[in-house]
């Protein structure tokens, strides 16, 4: 049914400083199908945002993509010229950011920020203006004609996020990168934005990469998910399986620490310890020091990402031990199309 739109192979993004190298992304591979929402989850600093930024070529110095291949519809984005990348950005690939306040230019009117985003050169100014209003209406901005003249600071947080989504969608990208799109928002607004993104994705038949540390948000949006830890992907599978029968100790730890558990009478179980220093990574599995299933070999050698059943990959050599662990929570499931 599905065609691959983006394939990432062994991506390594390092931050190379004078006396240390921070391996933010250390050999990440995954692929995304058309019209699929793919989640990158993990705690802060695990490399999920760096992965996302690498995909669209926005890694800041001293960061550098040192290895890998980002195959978008058959083109390796790491091999093309800046001019060609410019063409892909916006019309093929768009991105929305965590902080809607800082992601909009404070000194340009919303009108200008949307209208400059249309990449179709054939459009007249008037057409752009009308399309911009249409976009604002699409993302649910009330009385868009009036808001066109406003500046970003005149919007509330949720509205700003909607404006940012409208801008990112101006040239109808086929793949939307959403870097923590709901993190900076109130919970009630969060739900609205999640619903909006889900609706837009369906309507425009886009693919989406969702970067989030919030498993609840991921559950409501993602078809498939990858759990990242210390620059590595630990587990990839579809959302239902991930929540129902996780097969990596880190994923299990994350699910145990969810507040949903508490409501069912269980206790919140934190993962003991702290993530490793990315500039001074342990030799073996980065999760080994915190892992209750850790074996001696784990501290020496990083296991491969192995397929344990079709479409379900886990980077753990103890998957057999985990086989009986039931999903800690019932899969929340994707929001049903209305």
């Amino acid at each position: 049914m599905s065609n691959t739109i983006l394939e990432v192979i062994d991506l390594k993004t390092y931050y190379i400083e004078k006396n240390r190298v921070v391996k933010a992304v250390d050999g990440v591979s995954f692929s995304i199908n058309e019209e699929e929402t793919f989640g990158l989850v993990g705690e802060s600093g695990c490399g999920k945002s760096a992965t996302c930024r690498s995909l669209i070529g926005l890694v800041h110095k001293p960061g550098e993509i040192v290895n890998g291949c980002i195959n978008y519809k058959g083109t390796d984005l790491l091999k093309i010229s800046p001019k060609e990348l410019e063409k892909i950005r916006g019309s093929e690939m768009g991105m929305i950011f965590q902080e809607p306040m800082t992601a909009l230019n404070p000194v340009l009117k919303i009108k200008e920020q949307i209208m400059e985003s249309f990449k179709d050169k054939a459009l007249s100014k008037q057409q752009k203006y009308e399309k911009a209003i249409e976009l604002l209406r699409l993302v649910g901005i009330p009385s868009p004609e009036k808001r066109m003249e406003s500046f970003p600071h005149q919007f509330s947080g949720g509205m700003r996020q909607r404006v940012m989504i409208a801008i990112a969608l101006a040239s109808k990208p086929r793949l939307l990168l959403a870097d923590e799109p709901t993190t900076a928002l109130d919970v009630t607004i969060q739900d609205q934005i999640i619903k909006l993104l889900n609706d837009l994705k369906r309507e425009l038949k886009m693919s989406m990469i969702l970067v989030t540390h919030d498993l609840g948000v991921a559950a409501q949006m993602c078809d498939r998910m990858a759990v990242m830890y210390a620059g590595n992907i630990m587990e990839i599978t579809d959302a239902v399986t991930l929540f129902g029968s996780p097969r990596h100790p880190y994923t299990i730890g994350l699910l145990n620490s969810l507040a949903v558990n508490k409501e069912k009478g269980g206790k919140l179980q934190p993962i003991n310890g702290a993530p490793p220093d990315l500039s001074n990574m342990p030799e073996g599995c980065p999760f080994a020091p915190r892992c209750q299933y850790c074996e001696p070999l784990c501290e020496k050698q990083l296991p491969d990402l192995q397929e344990i059943e079709p479409g379900h990959l886990s980077r753990c050599r103890c998957v057999e031990k985990l086989a009986n662990i039931k999903g800690i929570i019932e899969p929340a499931g994707k929001e049903e199309p209305s």
Binding site: M95, V107, E116
Partner: protein, 313 residues
């Protein structure tokens, strides 16, 4: 009509400030040792002529009366009469202010032309060799006193190479502008150094902002991101410092006009101080104060135009 109210309010606020300025100049001038009549007549003056001179200058009256006359004249748009030139001060200023204004404008334009490209360049090259060279250069420029740089320029470009006139400002406009290049450059250097630092910081800050990344992620060409996202925001953070520096350069004209022998009000002020010509000093300082206050108001207004988040109220 918020803006209009604001401007009117600000204009009214200028009045008490100007009043304080008049008190300050008046007191300070009289604190400088040396009787004006004596300075003017030198040691040749007999006690009678000195007394007559003092009477003519109104110095035999009490300080309070003197101040009252000064203030009363001001209110009638009269800046007094220079004893030295035997001419109304307002006439003198009218003749000379064009020189000072031209100097300030040329300095400002040169400062913009030099500091914006260099500041931007050092901002995007922060930390590497190119950035460090610009940094070191601006550090040197800010540390050197402008009268000394002015003299060096005069010797090198004026005397040795003969590219520029060494004194005066000519008769026609092209000559005026041409003769302002060296003084303007001298004047601009220190300001450039500060502005480069400021612009560099703000460029490297802004480059890290999400909105710049967002602009790139939309597929905007580098050129547009630079002009509409980076430079526009740099201007917002630079305009305050910049206008403060323009006011500062106006004051610096005293030094520059002296070094380059330009017949402006800076030089007039210096002559006034040296000759204890109270009317000239009071008049020119007052005019300087008015210009600086007007510049401030203008800055606040332009700030609100550049940055939509700032409201005039």
């Amino acid at each position: 009509m918020n803006e209009l109210n604001y401007i009117i309010k600000r204009l009214l606020q200028i009045i008490p400030v100007l009043f304080c300025v008049t008190v300050l100049i008046f007191i300070m001038m009289r604190l400088i040792p040396g009787d004006p009549a004596l300075v003017m007549l030198g040691d040749k003056g007999s006690p009678e002529t000195i007394a007559a001179m003092r009477h003519q200058m109104g110095l035999d009256q009490s300080y309070l009366t003197q101040y009252w006359i000064f203030l009363n004249n001001l209110l009638h748009m009269n800046l007094g009469k220079s004893v030295y030139y035997n001419q109304p001060v307002s006439e003198l200023i009218q003749q000379k202010i064009l020189v000072t204004i031209t100097l300030t404008i040329v300095s400002t334009i040169l400062a913009i032309l030099i500091s914006f490209p260099l500041g931007y360049l050092s901002g995007i090259n922060r930390g590497n060799l190119k950035g460090q060279i610009i940094n070191a250069g601006s550090l040197v420029a800010v540390s050197l006193p402008s009268f000394w740089i002015g003299l060096l320029f005069l010797i090198l470009f004026g005397l040795k190479l003969g590219w520029f006139p060494i004194a005066g400002w000519g008769q026609t406009w092209p000559e005026h502008i041409y003769s302002m290049i060296l003084p303007g450059l001298t004047q601009a250097l220190a300001t450039c150094a500060l502005l480069i630092r400021n612009i560099q910081n703000s460029v490297s800050d802004i480059l890290k902002k999400d909105y710049v990344d967002f602009a790139y992620s939309k597929g905007l060409p580098r050129k547009i991101v630079r002009s509409r996202y980076i430079i526009k925001n740099v201007m917002v953070s630079t305009v305050t410092l910049f206008s403060m520096r323009i006011a500062y350069m106006l004051g610096g004209s005293v030094v520059i006009e002296t070094v380059f022998a330009l017949p402006g009000i800076g030089l007039l002020l210096l002559q006034g101080i040296l000759g204890r010509d109270y009317a000239i000093v009071q008049g020119t300082v007052f005019i300087f104060a008015v210009i600086v206050l007007a510049m401030n108001l203008f800055t606040d207004i332009s700030y609100s135009i550049l940055d939509p988040r700032v409201k005039l109220q």
